[in-house]
Subunit: 352 residues, 3 copies
Amino acid sequence: MTSITAHQLAQLLNGRIEGNPNATAHRIAKIEEATEGCLSFVANPKYEEYLYTTQASILIVNETLELQRPVQSTLIRVKDAYSAFAYLLELYAAQSNQKREGIEQPCFIHPDAVIEEGAYIGAFSYIGAHAHIGRGAQIYPLCYIGDRARIGASSLLYAGVVVYHDCEIGERVIIHSGTVIGSDGFGFAPQDDGQYKKIPQMGKVIVEDDVEIGANTTIDRATMGATIIHRGVKLDNLIQIAHNVEIGSHTAIAAQAGISGSTKIGKYCVIGGQAGLVGHIQIADHTRINAQSGVTKSIQYPGAAITGTPAFDYKSALKSQAIFRNLPNLEKRVRELEETVRQLLAEKERVS
Amino acid sequence: MTSITAHQLAQLLNGRIEGNPNATAHRIAKIEEATEGCLSFVANPKYEEYLYTTQASILIVNETLELQRPVQSTLIRVKDAYSAFAYLLELYAAQSNQKREGIEQPCFIHPDAVIEEGAYIGAFSYIGAHAHIGRGAQIYPLCYIGDRARIGASSLLYAGVVVYHDCEIGERVIIHSGTVIGSDGFGFAPQDDGQYKKIPQMGKVIVEDDVEIGANTTIDRATMGATIIHRGVKLDNLIQIAHNVEIGSHTAIAAQAGISGSTKIGKYCVIGGQAGLVGHIQIADHTRINAQSGVTKSIQYPGAAITGTPAFDYKSALKSQAIFRNLPNLEKRVRELEETVRQLLAEKERVS
Amino acid sequence: MTSITAHQLAQLLNGRIEGNPNATAHRIAKIEEATEGCLSFVANPKYEEYLYTTQASILIVNETLELQRPVQSTLIRVKDAYSAFAYLLELYAAQSNQKREGIEQPCFIHPDAVIEEGAYIGAFSYIGAHAHIGRGAQIYPLCYIGDRARIGASSLLYAGVVVYHDCEIGERVIIHSGTVIGSDGFGFAPQDDGQYKKIPQMGKVIVEDDVEIGANTTIDRATMGATIIHRGVKLDNLIQIAHNVEIGSHTAIAAQAGISGSTKIGKYCVIGGQAGLVGHIQIADHTRINAQSGVTKSIQYPGAAITGTPAFDYKSALKSQAIFRNLPNLEKRVRELEETVRQLLAEKERVS
């Protein structure tokens, strides 16, 4: 990173300087690791304690931050410190990341595949018959793009991504290594003898524009029709998306969550890590599902927050959990009541 | 799909027509997405509501279906609508899927490997020394087959499957992308200083005939002997099978479940998604383990259904869960009882 | 395995013979599968029942083992049967595993990459610009080593491992197939319109010496700085390690566990399978976290054992769980108390 002054940063971020406008940073670091010459930020209150001890030269903080005592660093106050810092990282990333281009050898490109201008095909990648790789798409080494699959313009597939035949990936999509798009859904018809008969999975997967998918996630193709990941969805690592699932726009799902077959998730939902949803349910927009929850029923009204297995209303669940921790005490209270009542009854007996 | 009439379908499926025998379909679709010219089906009662609004030309339904009011589509009544539809999909799949054959270049085949007739080895696949690829097996691109590993006749490994050395895959097995067979079991001997010493994993994995394994699943090799997946087992995506586990024939396991070391699972079991089983236990045949359960003990008698963490009898657990949701209410009732009893005692005191 | 006598084994393991010093074994097997001519061991009391029925020729057992009745096998008594047996397996493994060496073609090695002496680069592996492969490191086929990444001496990457750019792997590290090191952390800034803006992940991953990582595990690169896996850590399969996490030396984590962003785990901890930890917490050294736990708070004092979701003290949790199983009974007792008290009140009313 080239040097930047507090003055320059304040202009770039439309912020207000508190301290020395000539303070200079030439490195980006987390607040807890920042040393002199570093630019850092504080957005999460958990990290405010570091404000008073850090050697960072410049700190980006929220407009609304209230200092408990003086700080050594020069502050740049902005409306949203987290977003402002993200914007800086982005500028920095754009500067340092090199877009790859061209065909690296050896790779396998079927004669009937179409590779648009400006695309990168890494060594040992395999592009099947009638596959279509959009303008400026980057297919890193060791990827597999099946027959008739489509990768949209400017999308980026890191090393070792697999896209099965007929699946469609939108534009500006990012997919991390080891992720599998379009494997067969888990569909088997139980037979009278207890064995299973495979249901052919004839559908596909559609991943719309601006989606990002983490590493080693799996998204199964539909039995018929399509499993659909709508525009702007963010999926973390090791997530399971079963056949015929639909994830609404701008929903975010954390690592190791699993969505069972044919479940439809609304827009702007947030699903925590290791949560699991049963199949054939519908989740309203703006639902928040806590980590490790087990969701067994549809959520009809937008904006609910749920937790637990089986999951129910978040606030009620917290109350039940609090009592659960003290269950032995509750049981003891019941035992004591029983003893007292027994004595009352015995005395009454004696009296009468 | 070529066109088909209700009459032809009824003959093919041994079904009974209700409506127009000349109704014609040329596309397959899910009931909720079916339009005119579509063939669809209803087996799950959840989807019966669509019967009365769908534009589908032909619907396959169960013999026993009771209509609430007239429907527009021509019905084909069969004994088991789900299986009948699966059978149609299968015919359709057989028609449209092309079996791959031959050696695609560049690939790596060790001179001491054996590739039987009719096999397909995709580009960038690696076949180790003394590995054996059976007749008509399809090894898609970017697979790794270790030394002395065996892939049975007509088995299908999608792109990017890894089979470690010495592992044995049976016939007609399907393995989806990113799955790893034969990685070392998680075996470490704790030392006096708290560090771990690796226990070499000398065994292998045996996957018997007609097994299907989803994407990004991991099956560890045994410390000694073999981790065994018996005939007809169906494993979903992202499942963990630890060393020395044995899974009985025709058991089905849903995504993200994990089976710890040396546990033996019976035949015809069904294990839900994200369930976890501790090591060194035994699960009787026909056991049903609910999603997200944590199984800590052996199940001795066949046919049990369990849920929860730690898991116990399904029906009892549902009752406990129902009360858990109302724990704050139970606690309130106990508090009120305590108050009432306190007053009773106080009055008694006063009286005496 | 070449034949070995009880006498030779006793010398090798510094053990005491009980039985025939000339007993000979030529195969290693688990106690429950051992036949004549086999060498086996018993360390876990669960397996002691096999002592009296096995046909194994030689058994390694703990010094302290108390026999209930005579056994047929010759015993070698040692201080720690498990470690002694592990040592034998190691000798055996060293004998049978061949270290790979040399450059297998075709592979892709960037002209600016450095490959040290004695390294193995498997076919279809990709070594990026300025990557560094240490002395005697083994990179199996189909691996991807990004630009400027470093693999330490004598490390072993099985087929299909991905190491993103700039990540650093120490010496004698073992990484199993399908594992992804250095994918982007799940960092997105929510915007006012509910959409997400990607936070560039500028950091890296550092994996220190003597770490072992299972198959299909994912370790995300830091936003800034590094995600760090310290010396001697053992990670199982399908684990998620989020950005900026730090795992202390000699901690072991079982399959499918997930650690959220910026959480710091101490040394010598043990984390069970499918456990999940929220982000931004700290776990003290020697903490034991039970399988499937959901850890929502920091653990401040070393040596705690916790379980449940949300997780709390192990022993207390067991008591709560026991009552949970009988909640319907507790509710019934409260109902009966209510009835009795109601009658007492009614009688009192009548009396007064």
